[in-house]
Symmetry: C2
Subunit: 347 residues, 2 copies
DNA sequence: GTGAAAGCGCTAACAG
DNA sequence: CTGTTAGCGCTTTCAC
């Protein structure tokens, strides 16, 4: 059968507690017994039982990852493998494991989170998204359960919740200004799901830049889409059918930009000659579009890595003050933007 | 503090064991007590402790997912979110959770798997890749631990291991024949990492088709690359620098194809006019390349879904015979292939 | 139908 | 430095 701590104890002629101490590498055990015990462990092929430990310990050494509902395509964004890679690296360093939510709908996910929390299945949770009025976040907050969010809380509890984010407002503002500097005035905004905080922040950055430049916002230049690929395509149709189509586009996500580029190419609109495009995220494949896209690198890996750092800090010291961390972004200029020179129909 | 089964028992005026039976919905408990107990659970906000259950039960209701090492870029392939979506769906239906490996190197992953197995952290494991001589697979096999692999075992143990795969040999063969029918004779093979079984199968399918058509294989037309994007790019350089460059390419993976398309476009080689391309996987973004790529849909989601079905079957009935399952594939014709008409330099 | 009690494998006082 | 003992919260015989 499975070999337990008792077997090891017997073989090494010590008490079970001593074995336990050796596992924990307690400093109050003599070097000699440690060796004897370790040898016995080796001989018997002993491995500590994870559940027994967790039960006695009240600590699972695992963190729960909560994704947005996997029903829609959001989930397929390579954004996720990349955050997870960041989380994974740090988690592994600190010897934590990762437990994934499996829910397809928001309701399912909420229930799962409850189970994770109440069932003590994980020591802490990372929210891999930030939605505007998120039930899960509220729950975690009320339960005073250790968690961090990637993105930011939308409401007043901002100062009471630990999160890791980019300065999405500023990124969008900068990028809009960049387009403005290139001579564009008809700049459209193709946003993601308005339920996500990042979308709101992007939009505000965009608005601010236009306002500062004294350019009036046009409602028909602002569109939102849920689904990434199709979204990009629909947005293009809507925008390019306007009497005065935009000469530049701010697109929420690189995947969406692939959809935009595809549709534009079908319509024989040339990028960047006819339309300039900037988007966000800088996924691994983003340099492979044609033309290669100009995009904001948000350092996805670091978002995950740092979220894990903060979470584990919180797990270890629950009373420490909430922390926020802003990961720097960087505009990666490639070939989807160009100076606006064409004559346009008068406004 | 946390509310336990005892608290519920007290409140409902029954023994803890009765509460346990109600949780398990035992048929030997009267309807009346069931209701009383459920009410008490509700009132107190009781949630069963996961670790205690697992310990007593010797069952964790969670499956471990083992990915290839996340150090290299393979990990960023949207293939993974999609398999996981399939796994997740089925796991959720059967009320299983998912635990992720975090290792960066093969050695780290191997150690983690040992911990998962010996520490009884998971009830079974899905290998999300299949490598030619895989230590992890051998270990799992020797331990007689429930596991399934996505892909197939390479060696003689094929008949003793449960797996879910595509018929990659046939897919590659068909696709090569398709190119042949379009009049191509100079067909190159741009494979992935030769350590992966899928690469071997693809290559054999390709060879077989050429052989059947009486076309001699040329070594310089067969290249392999580890890294997906860069790989694609390097392959193109090598291939197009040949005195007799190929007129058609079989590319291992859609992501790689993005790299290929990019590089080809930089070299002013037009697809499909100058070169035709077929690749494998049909990722969500694959229809957004320019031109949209012709590719083999391997039904990634189903690979994950069915692997989970088989795994849980194995967990529940460990003595059942190993099973294999082949998921159908389908050629998706888009616009990266064309009939070969140009005059070529004589062979 | 329900209760009492032992035990899953480990940790953590408390002794000594 | 090391052993003894009492749980962690749940399941599961075995009684009744």
């Amino acid at each position: 059968m499975t070999v337990t701590i008792k077997d090891v104890a017997k073989k090494a002629n010590v008490a079970p507690s001593t074995v336990s101490r050796v596992i924990a590498n307690s400093s109050r055990i003599s070097q000699r017994t440690k060796e004897r015990v370790r040898e016995a462990m080796e001989d018997l092929g002993y491995h500590p039982n994870f559940n027994a430990r967790s039960l006695a310990n009240k600590s699972t050494k695992t963190i729960g990852l909560v994704m947005p509902n996997s029903a829609n395509k959001t989930f397929q964004n390579p954004f996720f493998p990349e955050v997870i890679r960041g989380i994974s690296t740090k988690a592994h360093m600190l010897e934590y494991g990762m437990y994934l939510s499996t829910g397809q709908t928001e309701e399912e996910i909420f229930e799962e989170v409850q189970h994770m929390v109440q069932g003590r299945r994980v020591d802490g949770i990372i929210l891999l998204y930030s939605r505007v009025n998120d039930k899960v976040m509220s729950y975690l907050y009320e339960q005073n359960f250790p968690f961090t969010v990637i993105g930011r809380p939308y409401d007043s509890r901002m100062s009471e919740i630990t999160f890791v984010n980019n300065d999405n407002f500023k990124a969008a503002k900068t990028v809009t200004e960049y387009l403005l500097l290139l001579g564009h005035e008809r700049i459209a905004f193709v946003g993601g799901n308005l339920d996500f905080v990042v979308t709101v922040d992007h939009m505000e950055g965009y608005e601010r830049a236009l306002k500062n430049a004294g350019i009036k916002m046009r409602d028909e230049y602002v569109v939102f889409h849920e689904e990434l690929q199709e979204g990009g395509q629909e947005a293009v149709i809507a925008l390019m059918s306007l009497k005065e189509p935009p000469t530049a586009l701010l697109v929420a996500d690189d995947i969406m930009t692939f959809g935009v580029l595809r549709m534009l190419s079908e319509m024989d609109v040339s990028v960047p000659d006819d339309v300039s495009i900037v988007s966000f995220n800088n996924l691994m494949i983003s340099e492979l579009s044609s033309p290669p896209m100009t995009t904001v690198d948000i350092n996805i890996y670091s978002l995950g890595y740092e979220a894990t750092t903060l979470l584990i800090e919180k797990i270890l010291k629950p009373d420490v003050n909430p922390r926020k961390m802003i990961i720097p972004h960087k505009l990666i200029k490639r070939q989807s933007c160009q100076r606006q020179t064409k004559k346009l129909a008068p406004q």
